[in-house]
Symmetry: C2
Subunit: 152 residues, 2 copies
DNA sequence: TTTACTGCAAATATTTTGCAATATC
DNA sequence: GATATTGCAAAATATTTGCAGTAAA
């Protein structure tokens, strides 16, 4: 879990967004966000649903999909398609401080703490577009697959 | 369509891959690759299927999914999840020379010709991973949405 | 020949939608 | 109170699978 201060900032940002868009501040939305903030990496819908159920907070799939859309719109989480399986989400806050190493053989994803690419990307001159954040994916072969050869 | 020389290189690379993996060199696989090489940007399964049908080359969805998997494995195309709708594919060859600007309001995607991020990324020291290619996604607000306010 | 690949249709998985009940504003 | 949001189940989409026929090696 992130520190309390960061969590409060994210929460406040969500509240501001909901207010601005005249959307309702429901328990479901805040509880889902809270759960997401407890993850340190990627997650998908199924996993999030399970974790919520485990803490005895059941929401319908419809609500989950709806809330994730809202959170994406609010810019608090981002959507990745890192492998062929399922859509993965990640707190923008965390995604910003990592780049993603994706093994093209086994599909494994490694997060690598690195902020230099963001700094680099900020120097790019881009017209007719206001950049908010950056995601770098590096595709290649992880050391396991390199040694063992193809796993698939 | 790319120039003939590039197309031949891609085709040869596919042949080498199929040979190495002891996979068969079928007309379907080569025709699908050829069609993909005629696109200058992203495409999805539905669009590819249509375009193939238009040129009177019908393949089943099963074959299409199978072939796209093979092409991803071969490293010739990459898979993007650029918006919430559907998975999009792109020739790796083309993807490498562009970065992607994704509007968080309207979902529109703009490709921006830029290779400097690849050069930058190549300078990153990464252990236990052999990088092959790089993809930079920049999330933000496009000028249309900036002016008009939210479209959604 | 052998068996990988294809097409088709059926099975799964994923996401969206309709609608009545509920809770926010 | 008005109506956005929720839950549930059904519908719509997207993807995978089983299997018999076909074709590459």
């Amino acid at each position: 879990m992130m520190d309390e201060k960061t969590y409060k900032e994210i929460q406040d940002s969500f509240t501001a967004y909901l207010t601005e868009k005249k959307l309702r501040k429901t328990e479901e939305r805040y509880t889902i966000l809270e759960k997401i903030c407890s993850f340190s990496g990627h997650f998908d819908i199924v996993m999030l649903h399970q974790k919520l159920d485990e803490t005895r907070f059941h929401v319908s799939k419809a609500t989950l999909y709806n809330t994730l859309d809202v959170l994406v719109d609010a810019g608090l989480i981002i959507r990745h398609q890192l492998n062929s399986k399922s859509v993965q989400y990640e707190l923008r806050n965390i995604a910003e401080t990592h780049l993603h190493l994706i093994c093209m053989k086994c599909g494994n994803i490694r997060e690598l703490k690195n902020t230099s690419y963001t700094n680099f990307a900020k120097t790019l001159k881009i017209t007719r577009f206001t950049a908010e954040f950056y995601s770098l994916y590096i595709y290649g072969i992880c050391s396991k697959c390199k040694n063992k050869g193809s796993k698939k």
